[in-house]
Symmetry: C2
């Protein structure tokens, strides 16, 4: 069982994977030759190389864990957190810890090993988003889980260990600190102004215009004012909405198109860069926590779900680690201008 | 002039380097061939390739900006922040920004291009620490500056763009968020218990013993309980001390030996890994900030300077970026055991 440990100095939780402890020799990178995956476990025909599927899109009604699927959701073979057991919250002198309870799943986005969201058919992108929606809804039924983080690592420099297109989901028994900080900011803003912070940001960015990347009927895409990274991009629904899992089909189709266009622009502008994206939806606001703010009362008003996209173009060095303060060599206005200029006329939407 | 921009969502400042905006084509990594530095600007004889030195150790009394030095401090040729000008604090609708005022310096640690702190003579390590102490003291006279962060990037994967041994210093007009969080935790602990949080951690880690890496007369070296990264190591003075710049010579000699031993152990255990270290000393507590906590009153009691060392063995992926929540595959107890087992008998101390 892995452990969740709380850092009393940084007030941050860390997952310590006790079981499969990596020893010093595990960090010596093997020569590239031996690292090439001869058989991709995510490709059709290799379903037996993954744990049994949790969910799949099978237009041909093929049997589970056989070929014929368009998308599969499977448990991670080497999960950071496991679903079985109790949290077993405890202290150790100054420190706090609990057992590594949660979920760690992989969304295999398509059978096509070489697909890219920026160029795949829009209906396939829609299936990915539907899988996200379904898994969040399902996991929120587990009251031990406080948050479901969906993210994608694209390219080795972005942390992807397999190149077959996939996203991941980690459900955690705490609300991760980055999200908690955003929740606090949004709530503080709402309590002061009775307006959503993110709605205010959209309003201002529309008025200023110089950081806008793209706008669809229902979504707003821009480079944030204080972008940490070159070509950082956020996608927000224009209509205030706190919970991604409540998104209706019509809005999801618009999002599929918008995500595709955004990632296409990124791919063209930066020559297929590695990137990460994360979905910041609401925490599991149905969970009652004695003595805590009653999030389910204000979240529908103050929280606004969004997707953050981070191309991995620069190395993070000692200054950033030591300070939490980023140096971004590309002003977001310049990044947005480049991204706006990428033509999407040839894109099949 | 670069800008400091405040993220209203993450409540985090970012340095946006407006002037030398990197365009998409700047991110296409040139082939390795053309990237080899033919002439190292930090090597003796190339003093004219760097800005004029701010400070140097010259046992032979040689002239500034000529060979003969043992250590040089120079302004960064491409500074993220500049010392001239006013902060010019202002708002832009929802957002806050100020001009990029500060200092960005490079400490060239030795004339020897191939030296490593883990094996260089202890008196040379001492000169590096003396340079840190001197530069912090000097920059704290500038009341616009709130913090001086000293850090080292070793190896390309750790963000070092030049291999010649060097550290860097960035002085900022804000206290970086990571440090601010640590300051808040330490103050909260002190106000509740009238004890230093870090002194309590040392006390507990000594009693438990399983995360201890090394102990000298005056310093305590251990892998923190909630290590974010495999083989993360902290070095703390055993005697409570808030301001690195007030360290006396005798303590600094012990630190030189301790830092050398720690980095030697890391080098041997992990086969010369890339790493970052950062010094978390007190902020510029002499600066009066109306309406803010009076740090100069409590800091001598609640803050405890320390060095954090982070080997760069794993890639940071979407989950970590999106959540601020780390997955560490090596329990700190295992890391400490490996590091303890590295013999230092052959080391010339």
């Amino acid at each position: 069982m892995s452990e969740l440990r709380h850092d009393p100095v940084q007030k941050r939780w860390v997952i310590i994977a006790i079981e499969r402890g990596r020893r010093p020799s595990d960090f010596k990178t093997p020569p590239l030759e031996t690292r090439i995956v001869r058989t991709c476990p995510f490709c059709p025909g290799n379903e037996d190389k993954t744990p049994p599927e949790i969910y799949a899109v099978r237009p041909d009604n093929s049997a589970p864990n056989t070929p014929g699927w368009k998308l599969r959701v499977i448990p991670n073979k080497f999960p950071a957190l496991k679903i079985e057991g109790d949290l077993n919250r405890r202290g150790l002198g100054l420190y706090d810890l609990m057992d590594g309870i949660g979920a760690h799943e992989v969304i295999i986005e398509t059978p096509d090993h070489n697909a890219h969201i920026g160029t795949m058919p829009t209906e396939d992108v829609l299936e990915i988003l539907k899988a996200y929606r379904m898994r969040i809804s399902d996991l929120f039924n587990d009251k031990r889980l406080r948050y479901v983080l969906i993210f994608k690592n694209y390219g080795e420099a972005a942390g992807a260990s397999l190149s077959h297109p996939h996203s991941q989901l980690i459900a955690t028994p705490i609300t991760p600190r980055t999200v908690a900080t955003e929740l606090d900011s949004a709530r503080e803003h709402y309590l002061a102004k009775e307006r959503c912070l993110f709605c205010d940001i959209i309003h201002q960015e529309k008025a200023l215009g110089d950081r806008v990347v793209y706008e669809s009927e229902k979504f707003f895409v821009f480079c944030p004012f204080a972008s940490r990274f070159p070509f950082e991009i956020w996608i927000l629904p224009k209509q205030h909405s706190h919970d991604f899992a409540l998104t209706d089909d019509e809005t999801l189709i618009d999002l599929a198109r918008t995500l595709k266009i955004t990632l296409y622009k990124l791919r063209v502008a930066l020559n297929d860069p590695p990137y990460n994206y994360v979905l910041h939806t609401a925490p599991n606001y149905h969970v009652f926590r004695p003595g805590r703010p009653n999030y389910w009362q204000t979240l529908p008003y103050d929280w606004h779900w969004h997707i953050e996209i981070i191309p991995r173009l620069t190395k993070i060095a000692g200054f950033e680690w030591g300070s939490g303060f980023y140096i971004n060599p590309t002003p977001p206005e310049m990044a947005a201008e480049f991204l706006r200029s990428v033509k999407i006329d040839d894109l099949d939407l």
